[in-house]
């Protein structure tokens, strides 16, 4: 059984921007406005985010490697392409539950957002780093739990 997971970079970056912007606004500091400027990811930060995106792609590929049929990789890793989609196609065993595929994709999407955010906060907002790192780790566990879940075998009565 083949399954395909797709993660859109633009969508992940949007979520990271929303998340970091919201955390920036809600962070109370003495110099009003400073936290937002420091924490929010802007287009100028994309060089740095690109590396985090690439690391998230690589760790996902590493996690899925035993099942992978095909996986996308950038034609030129030095060029930033916002339209990039990380697509991994996997050959799963017959006892894999295909009903879980959308949920795996959703957990993987959260993993990308939280892992990129945690790495970003390691630079811009250390106090929040651990929380997002833990979240990304939990998302990774969710993905694994679903990928490795197996349906019960079905008895075929001999005729």
């Amino acid at each position: 059984m083949d399954i395909s997971l797709n993660i859109k970079k633009a969508s992940v970056y949007d979520e990271v921007a929303k998340l970091t912007g919201y955390v920036g606004v809600k962070t109370i500091e003495d110099n009003i406005g400073k936290a937002y400027d420091r924490v929010f990811t802007t287009d100028d930060d994309k060089q740095m985010l690109e590396r985090f995106w690439r690391e998230a792609c690589n760790s996902s590929t590493d996690e899925f490697k035993q099942f992978i049929s095909t996986v996308t990789s950038p034609s030129n890793s030095q060029v930033i392409d916002d339209a990039e989609i990380y697509t991994v196609t996997m050959k799963m065993p017959g006892s894999f539950d295909n009903n879980l595929t959308p949920s795996i994709e959703s957990s993987l999407y959260s993993y990308f957002i939280n892992t990129i955010t945690s790495k970003w906060f390691a630079i811009s907002n250390k106090a929040e780093t651990e929380y997002y790192k833990t979240e990304s780790s939990l998302n990774g566990d969710e993905v694994r739990r679903k990928i490795f879940f197996r349906k019960k075998p079905v008895r075929v009565i001999p005729t």
Binding site: P93, G94, S95, D141, R144, R145, I147, F148, F149, R150, K152, P153, V154, R155, V156, P158
Partner: protein, 167 residues
């Protein structure tokens, strides 16, 4: 005079029991973080799993044939090591039993043969997938052999035929 005891073991039933036992064992060994190990313990329809199981079933059956040689006859003079055929529906053992064999225990013979093949295959499986679970299946397969021998050696008591005395 001898009689034939034909035992048919359906491969799908053997495979299902092996898969089901490994599925239930894996499920009961879940710790909440060992997802991959549990999946690897559960024999599925993946090619490498199927090949391992079919090879084990074939090996167990070969071993049984050696143990049951005194009840088998055949004139095959060639053999090969090709794995049993995936499309083959069943394994048929035709045992040549003595006239006084108690055919009432045929079901026991069938049960012991089935269990021996399943337990031996599970032993092979767990040696690879979870070695600490393997020995119990080796022990069980030895018990199955004892039960098989016991069943095969059941004999009906002789019946006396009173001679007809012609005056």
């Amino acid at each position: 005079m001898s009689k034939a005891l034909t035992i048919t073991l359906y491969k799908s039933e053997l495979i299902y029991e092996i898969q089901n036992k490994t599925f239930l064992t894996g499920k009961s060994r879940e710790t909440g973080s060992n997802f991959e190990q549990v999946a690897n313990m559960q024999a599925s329809d993946e090619d490498e799993h199927q090949n391992q199981i079919l090879r084990s079933i074939g090996n167990a059956y070969d071993s049984l044939r050696a143990k049951l040689s005194s009840f088998l006859s055949g004139d095959e003079v060639t053999a090969n090591n090709i794995q049993i055929d995936t499309n083959e529906i069943s394994i048929v053992a035709v045992l040549t039993m003595p006239d006084n064999f108690n055919f009432g225990v045929s079901e026991a013979v069938k049960g012991a043969l089935h269990r021996y093949i399943v337990n031996t295959s599970l032993f092979d499986w767990y040696v690879i997938a979870k070695p600490d679970e393997a020995k119990v299946y080796s022990d069980l397969s030895q018990n199955d052999l004892v039960e098989l021998r016991e069943a095969l050696n059941k004999r009906i008591r002789p019946t006396r035929t009173a001679p007809v005395i012609v005056p």
